[in-house]
């Protein structure tokens, strides 16, 4: 019975980890694999994760997919508007290495040269399970005191 009762919030990190609000920057297929989390299939709201409309309400920036030279300045602008503590999650190979666009003239190859990235999720694109694994890892790290930026 005690399992059904609301768990007391033990720390600031605990509260933050269970109420991650997300601003998404979707450019490509990464978002297609994140969508099951938005819907009821994987249901991100059971973790307290909400998609918000403005970066000023967000704790987490998710960059899903390749990033062009033109997009990176927008991402920086979104990142600068977010209030601290803030976390950045990059989905897929493209923001990591350029992925299949490694020799494209218009995409940046490593997003962490422009903004700090806290969590990389592997995959081309990553499966929803990988993204969930990443989210739980991030929640555990925040509960453990990881303060972001």
């Amino acid at each position: 019975m005690s399992k059904l009762l609301p768990r007391p919030i033990r720390s600031k990190g605990d509260a933050a980890a269970n109420s991650l609000w997300v601003i998404n920057y979707f450019t490509a297929c990464g978002f297609m694999e994140l969508l099951p989390w938005v819907g009821s299939g994987y249901d991100m709201e059971r973790f307290g994760i909400l998609a918000v409309a403005t970066p000023r309400h967000a704790d987490v920036l998710i960059v899903a997919g390749y990033v062009t030279e033109k997009a990176v300045s927008r991402i920086k602008r979104i990142y600068d508007q977010m209030a601290s503590p803030k976390y950045v999650m990059a989905l897929g190979s493209c923001p990591m290495t350029g992925g299949m666009y490694w020799d494209s003239y218009s995409t940046v190859k490593r997003i962490d040269k422009y903004i700090p990235v806290d969590l990389w999720v592997l995959g081309c694109p990553p499966k929803p399970e990988n993204i969930g694994h990443g989210i739980v890892m991030a929640m555990n790290a925040i509960k453990g005191g990881f303060g972001g930026h």
Binding site: T68, E69, K70, S73, G98, W102, D103, S104, Y105, S106, V108, K109
Partner: protein, 159 residues
């Protein structure tokens, strides 16, 4: 596809612009006509009057061995249900062509893109500022003499 419709269009175009029409092919219900660059604007104007009221695309191709760019105007007739593609060739050294924004205002964005990616100058287009690229200092990237691999190595993988 009714062949008489195609013949009708062919007659109408060739009777007015006999020498300027370099070739006129009909294939799979499409019309592909090659036109001299000088007559391009007038032929497009005639095609518009003949019912090709929808401009789908303006595309560029770099034929570096011939020293020419090819510009293709993709037209569609809703009434006739025929696609027409008009192709013109212009020199690579001075790629200047008359804009068709006066015929189709929607051509503005297509020409702007072609200008950015090939460096083709469309005279009469009100805005040819960069569309996708920011702070681009190289030659236009869709030209065949632009070495993408070399640029990427220098820009992203250099020390």
């Amino acid at each position: 596809m009714a062949t008489d419709k195609l013949e009708e269009i062919k007659t109408a175009v060739e009777s007015r612009f006999g020498d300027s029409i370099l070739s006129f092919d009909t294939k799979d219900g499409r019309i592909v006509l090659k036109v001299s660059a000088q007559a391009s604007h007038e032929v497009l104007s005639l095609l518009k009057d003949l019912g090709f009221e929808h401009l789908s695309d303006v595309t560029g191709t770099d034929y570096i061995k011939d020293g020419e760019f090819e510009i293709a105007y993709h037209l569609w007739s809703h009434a006739k249900k025929i696609r027409a593609i008009q192709k013109i060739r212009i020199s690579r050294e001075s790629p200047v062509v008359k804009s068709i924004v006066d015929l189709w205002p929607g051509a503005q964005i297509h020409e702007r893109e072609d200008h950015e990616l090939f460096g083709i100058d469309f005279v009469g287009n009100p805005d040819l500022s960069p569309l996708f690229l920011e702070d681009w200092k190289e030659i236009p990237p869709f030209r065949k003499d632009f070495d993408t691999r070399e640029y990427v190595k220098r820009r992203y993988y250099g020390d």
